[in-house]
């Protein structure tokens, strides 16, 4: 029997600090799935020795930049890869201490699952709550709570159960009902219940951490069933030598949600013009149906003026363009938000000038308390109201993780200064 996840990609993030054994866990996953290669291993052996350690320090596998090694910290999200033959995995490894909000939100933005590490000796900490809240905020639907360092509490089942109980009490209180939550006792150091089961956790009957990942159904990445096809690029070869290509107009982009089939009746937003799909192709291959995340080129039966940034939806869709909305925003830049300044908003394939008209409140990521503020600094999260110069075709983030998301760009420095998730759209 083939597994249902056969030959797909799964992106997950790991939350925790070096003290929780996060680097050791990732090192263990890569080591036990035979992803660590000999030369990397010999480098790690050398460094382990240099630092006076007796055993191989698996956490060194995730060691990154020179500046990080010098300071013994991690400063940025790193991406790691491994493959089991069943699935290809992309790990977004977010550092636990430094700039944690910015880095966690970045890592979470592309992840379908979050592994939240808890030190079994310490139980639920403030950072556990923060990681859970940020995962929920960025729309992660699968949380795996990995209770680590079981070896240091003699693999005690009752302590595992107690942490599980405490965690569920906390998630009930913050309304995490749409999120699937699982618990696994592990020892990253000893390798128990990561790839191999080990011999010390016989009271636990659930899957190993890798089994959990192998069987995770992430096919419903985007909740939305309605078609969203933002046009990234218009292909007009205008090749006078080739009669067929002379009038060719291909609309190129990626299906962000829903399905698009040949002969579907569609409309183009914001113009509202309607037509039907003539053909769909990927390279030279013609296909009948395009599915989410597929990059395609389509042609239409009518000659319509369409440019980059336009959104193609089904004819009966009631979605409209909008010029005002509110969103939860994470401020990413060292220079704080300046009210009444114009920023550039980048959404799907379109950009618009935008102003922030109102800060509703700031959210404390540790307690979820809302507080009034007139300032927004790096790593702050807040609900803001926006006004747009050009209309955009928006969805809420809850409905659509692609067309519900945007970034803000500083018009003079061109830095990416904020990331936003849309809550309400004014009609």
């Amino acid at each position: 029997m083939t597994k249902k996840t056969n030959d797909t990609v799964l992106r997950f993030m790991t939350c925790g600090s070096v003290d929780d054994g996060k680097s050791t866990l990732i090192g263990r996953l890569l080591f036990d799935t035979k992803t660590i290669l000999t030369d990397t291993l010999s480098q790690i052996e050398k460094t382990s020795k240099k630092r006076g350690m007796s055993a191989l320090d698996l956490s060194l596998i995730t060691d990154g930049l020179q500046a990080e090694r010098e300071q013994g910290i991690t400063i940025d999200v790193a991406y790691r890869y491994f493959s089991t033959g069943t699935r290809k995995y992309i790990i977004a490894d977010a550092p636990g201490h430094e700039q944690y909000t910015r880095n966690m939100v970045t890592a979470a933005s592309t992840a379908e699952c979050a592994i939240i590490l808890i030190d079994a000796r310490k139980g639920i900490l403030t950072q556990t709550k923060r990681h859970t809240y940020l995962s929920k905020l960025v729309g992660i639907k699968h949380i795996l709570v990995a209770i680590n360092k079981m070896d240091l509490i003699d693999y005690a089942e009752d302590q595992f159960k107690e942490i599980q109980h405490d965690y569920l009490a906390f998630t009930n209180a913050i309304n995490l009902k749409d999120t699937e939550i699982k618990f696994i006792p592990i020892s990253a150091l000893a390798g128990d219940m990561i790839v191999d089961r080990g011999e010390k956790l016989n009271w636990y009957n659930g899957p190993t951490l890798l089994d959990y990942l192998e069987n995770l159904d992430a096919s419903e990445k985007n909740a939305m069933k309605e078609l969203r096809f933002p046009v990234q690029y218009v292909c007009r070869p205008q090749d006078s030598a080739n009669k067929e290509l002379h009038d060719f107009r291909g609309f190129m982009g990626r299906i962000e949600s829903g399905l698009l089939c040949v002969n579907d009746k569609v409309k183009i937003l914001p113009s509202g013009h309607q037509s039907e799909v003539k053909d769909i192709r990927v390279g030279n291959d013609f296909i009948e149906e395009a599915i989410p995340e597929q990059s395609v080129t389509i042609t239409l039966k009518d000659e319509i003026d369409i440019s980059r940034g336009d959104m193609i939806v089904h004819e009966e869709d009631s979605i409209k363009s909008t010029k005002s909305f509110n969103a939860t925003v994470c401020w990413l830049n060292e220079s704080p938000l300046t009210m009444n300044r114009t920023y550039l908003i980048m959404h799907a394939a379109r950009a618009s000038k935008a102003k922030i008209t109102h800060i509703e409140h700031k959210i404390d990521v540790n307690t979820l308390a809302k507080e009034k503020t007139s300032q927004l600094n790096v790593n702050d999260i807040a609900d803001l109201s926006f006004k747009l110069a050009q209309p955009l075709i928006l969805d809420t983030y809850e409905d659509n993780r692609v067309t519900g998301a945007f970034i803000l760009v500083d018009e003079s420095t061109f830095h990416t200064v904020a990331a936003g998730m849309i809550n309400n759209i004014d009609s």
Binding site: T8, I90, R102, S219, Y233, P237, S295, I407
Partner: protein, 300 residues
Amino acid sequence: MAKVLSHLDWLESEAIHIMREVAGQCSNPVLLFSGGKDSLCLLRIAEKAFRPGRFPFPLMHVDTGHNYPEVIAFRDRKVNELGERLVVASVEESMKKGTVMLNSPNEPRNKYQSITLLEAIEEHGFDCCIGGARRDEEKARAKERIMSFRDEFGQWDPKNQRPELWDLYNARVHKGENIRAFPISNWTEMDVWQYIEREQLELPNIYYAHQRDVVKRNGAIVPVTEFTPPKPGELIENLMVRFRTVGDITCTAPVLSHADTVEKIILETASTIISERGETRLDDQMSESAMEQRKKEGYF
């Protein structure tokens, strides 16, 4: 259960999306093409992204002058087949101008590619270079953005990168600044070989096992060429080898192999125990942070 793309389709689709963003956001991009396997994947992706139209960018080869002739012949034939434009930026031209000064005549020229690349960027006014780098190649790359900002001197500042969230790429730059776009960031060496097999991509023949004169030096196999002559006392052997990466002759070493087809290379890659750069890139072995240093200086 919803339909889901296979891992190769997913990676390909992501790469197409990235290339189209470059085309949509940048006014004068260029695609770096070496004739190597990663840049050949980029060409196939560009075909899928832009055909039946032309590529919205020329191709550029930063040529060190130390090439395997087969690779250059292959490069020119490929460009002709595609009917696209090739720009050659030559390290030897930079040497003539005096902007590249070698410490010794037979010094590896890879690091000088950065100077020639930056000169070409300035000369042609390119605002974005599309490259075939992958995050699994090297630890400095693991933290680099898909659209990576470089200042006027081509420098990468690892501590001050633009945040990159979702698939929303910010390729905006001021005049003189530059974006390096890496559409196959999320691919591994294995993904590249599987894609080559699936797409039946033609590669320069030195990627496949062949007989070659080599010497063994410090644990590496060094090909005997006019740029890399044997040292006194070294024994020349004629062995079956293949290259896993293709670059400047003086810093690319082959591995012992009998894999003469893509299928056999995939089998060998699946069971290999030494990573691509560690085994065959003599320039990265020099220090723990060799790649990081080069990137800070403008290397792609």
